[in-house]
């Protein structure tokens, strides 16, 4: 093992340990202020980043990028001119941040370990390979910072930095398509930046502050513009429909990038922001966000049904679940918040696991499309096992995602009394979760479809690939154990069925299988080969359009509603 690898692994371990330590050590919120030097530094950095964006826009002649960079500069200038008077601490670590640390460092760390081997098999120069790993670490740092900050200005900077990271990483391969998608990600994410700046301006104008906690505690139900703009920023980062394209485009990047940026961690900024903001939401905002969130959940799952590129399916299902997380956060009952957190954690683990498998499929089997993966059982039972666990953990009990969905229904059901419009959220949720199940099983069954005769093609998979997967698996198990401890479901409800479902069939199997004879499948008495292929669902373009229009409409309603 090379020194670099060792040090990377050690570093990841340290990070993980720290984040774990954080959860146990500091129970209470931790606050801190940064010296003024830093603030000046941040302003400088902001300027540099925005200029860089502008430069890139000019370089690649991309009008949106230029436009948004300019708009941001203008707005940022405006922010600089205003000087708020109410101050608070710059750094604030609360429980939610602690959970986010865990996700970012442990899951992100594992993905970096995976990336070590992945990037080795690419054809880049050594420097570029190393800088790739470095970029990932840089990104972890930004993420850690972003969940700790309480200052919206700093938040803006970090937000822009994540945009920068994704821009660089998506364009990492340097080909035509990567460049195009990177620019797309860039301009879309800049909309988020614009939204944050707007939020800043309104916040300063109305509440005279740039701090989250002050803003939230002081906000009046009648003047929620800053909150709404922050929410919009969250939607952009969460790649909610209609902003989903940048995340889907991001799939051209090396798989660890997809995993770390676009599924497991970065997009989690969106629900995180929501979690921060929910106390300030009025009934209207919370309802609208919930509706938009569940709508996104529903429609992204629907759209995913028509896809056959494995990573794209994963991406869309991420978008869907992010929608759900944001909706849950917006509801804001304790139950919903728990559900949201559980979902964040489990989703990160499961998606990371799945993305790692996507990477393995790509590297070891040269597969990208789900249509081609049939009979994988014979070639690598381990990968299939991981994929199945990954999907199962997103749908089935006893895994957290299931529990979260379960609790989501409960909390939305509880809200209907307050506002009947939550019925729609419920319907979206119900339909969406069925679509998602459909989606997962559509892919999963493909794995099962056995090609009986190519046993010989068994493929050995590198340890670097399997160990991270095993680690994630372990995390899943720990998660299940914790949710068990917390008694989300009674033990009768969980243990008995699990035991019975697992044991009884095996018992029968062992008793009966010795006596059983093997037969071929029924084929109308014929003997020829059967050609199987997957059912696929074609979404007409106008459905996609309608969905985008509806989602955009929802956001406009959000803004306009608050304005009125």
């Amino acid at each position: 093992m090379r020194l670099k690898n060792l040090s990377v692994i050690a570093f990841v371990m340290v990070l993980s340990a720290l984040s774990l330590g954080n959860i146990f050590a500091y129970g209470v919120p931790f606050e801190m202020n940064l010296p003024d030097v830093f603030h000046n530094l941040f302003i400088f950095l902001d300027a540099v980043v925005l200029l860089y964006f502008l430069w890139q826009g000019i370089l690649f002649k991309h009008s949106y990028v230029i436009l948004f960079a300019l708009v941001q500069m203008l707005l940022y200038g405006a922010v600089m001119l205003l000087s708020p008077s109410v101050v608070s601490s710059d750094i604030l670590v609360d429980n939610i941040s602690s959970v986010m640390y865990l996700v970012i460092n442990i899951v992100g760390g594992i993905i970096i370990v995976f990336a070590l081997e992945y990037i080795e098999s690419e054809t880049f120069t050594r420097v570029r390979k190393n800088s790739f790993i470095a970029m990932l670490f840089f990104f972890l740092a930004v993420m850690n910072f972003i969940v700790s900050t309480n200052n919206i200005e700093i938040f803006f900077l970090l937000f822009e930095l994540t945009t920068l990271c994704s821009y660089v990483l998506i364009g990492y391969r340097g080909d035509e398509l990567s460049k195009k998608n990177a620019l797309q990600a860039l301009w879309m994410n800049q909309i988020g930046g614009v939204a944050i700046l707007m939020a800043l301006i309104f916040s300063i104008l109305q509440y005279d502050t740039i701090y989250f906690d002050v803003l939230i505690t002081n906000s009046e139900p009648l003047y929620l513009l800053p909150i709404v703009f922050l929410v919009l920023a969250a939607f952009v980062k969460g790649a909610s429909i209609p902003f989903e394209n940048w995340l889907l485009g991001a799939m051209v990047a090396p798989t660890p990038v997809s995993a770390i940026l676009h599924s497991a961690t970065m997009v989690k900024i969106a629900p995180f922001l929501m979690l921060k903001l929910f106390p300030a939401m009025s009934g209207f905002v919370s309802l609208t966000v919930t509706l938009i969130g569940t709508f996104v959940f529903f429609s992204a799952s629907l759209l995913a049904l028509s896809k056959d590129y494995f990573k794209e399916i994963l991406g869309l299902s991420t978008i869907a679940l992010l929608g759900l997380m944001m909706a849950l956060a917006a509801i804001g009952t304790p139950e919903a918040i728990t559900a949201c957190l559980v979902l964040i954690v489990f989703h990160a683990i499961s998606k990371a696991l799945l993305f790692l498998q996507a990477g393995i499929l790509e590297k070891s089997f040269h597969l990208k499309y789900v249509d081609d993966i049939d009979g994988l059982v014979n070639r690598s039972p381990l990968v299939v096992f991981f994929i199945i666990i990954g999907f199962a953990s997103l749908t089935l009990p006893p895994f957290g995602a299931f529990i979260a969905k379960f609790m989501a229904i409960e909390s939305i059901a509880g809200e209907i009394h307050n506002n009947p419009l939550y019925v729609f959220a419920l319907i979206f949720l119900a339909l969406g979760s069925v679509f998602l199940t459909l989606l997962y099983f559509k892919v999963m069954t493909k794995l099962f479809a056995k090609e009986a005769d190519n046993k010989s093609q068994y493929v050995k998979i590198s340890k670097y690939y399997t160990i991270p997967s095993f680690l994630l698996l372990a995390l899943l198990v720990i998660g299940v154990y914790i949710s068990f401890e917390r008694e989300f479901l009674s033990s009768l409800e969980l243990v008995v069925p699990l035991l019975l479902i697992a044991v009884v069939p095996l018992l029968f199997a062992t008793l009966l299988f010795q006596k059983a004879d093997r037969v071929k499948e029924y084929n109308c008495g014929e003997k020829d080969e059967i050609q199987l292929s997957m059912y696929y669902f074609h979404m007409p373009r106008n459905v996609q359009l309608t969905i985008s229009v509806l989602a955009t409409l929802g956001m406009w309603i959000l803004v306009l509603g608050v304005l009125l």
Partner: protein, 175 residues
């Protein structure tokens, strides 16, 4: 101990091995209200794996022989094969034609032969009832189909596909 239930729940599979449809529609008629085979617990499953009684009509054309054997082996033991109609018993009017093989029992062991052209639904019921008794006595031993293709043209020393067709009464006829 379960044997006695076999005869109460015969599920059938029907295959037409080249018949003229006459017997097949009579099987349908036997399922219809007037004769209602379901009284005996018969279900027409259409799936060999869930069947007990194999109803075959037709004299077995060359193209259907493999299918018969294939379906036969897919029926789990104990099973009963019923040849429905004269042409599946012995070839009937098609006996000796070049593309048929004189009855189902050239290929698989037949337990019950139902004569008639076309068999009447009553006879089908008779045959199925007879088959049920046989089913009860059967063991779960595998019964092998006799032959697959043309490999052997003789069974029990008897040639089935004769080189020259037997023409009854042709010899002294000159009109």
């Amino acid at each position: 101990m379960y044997e006695k239930y076999r005869k109460k729940s015969p599920w059938i599979l029907h295959y037409n091995a080249g018949s003229c449809n006459g017997c097949d529609i009579e099987i349908l008629a036997a399922l219809a209200p007037k004769y209602d085979l379901e009284r005996f617990g018969v279900i027409n499953t259409g799936n060999p794996k869930q069947s007990d009684i194999f109803l075959i009509t037709g004299p077995v054309t060359l193209r259907s022989r493999e299918r018969i054997v294939e379906l036969y082996t897919q029926i789990p033991e104990p099973k009963v094969v019923v040849a429905v109609g004269s042409c599946s018993c012995t070839g009937g009017v098609f006996r000796d034609m070049y593309n048929v093989e004189d009855g189902v029992d050239r290929y698989i062991p037949v337990d019950v032969y139902i004569p008639g052209c076309a068999v009447s639904p009553e006879l089908i019921i008779d045959g199925v009832v007879k088959g049920l008794d046989i089913l009860e006595q059967k063991t779960k031993e595998m019964e092998k189909p006799f032959k697959l293709f043309q490999e052997a043209t003789t069974k029990d020393g008897i040639t089935s596909r004769r080189e020259t067709p037997l023409r009854v009464g042709e010899d002294n006829e000159k009109n």
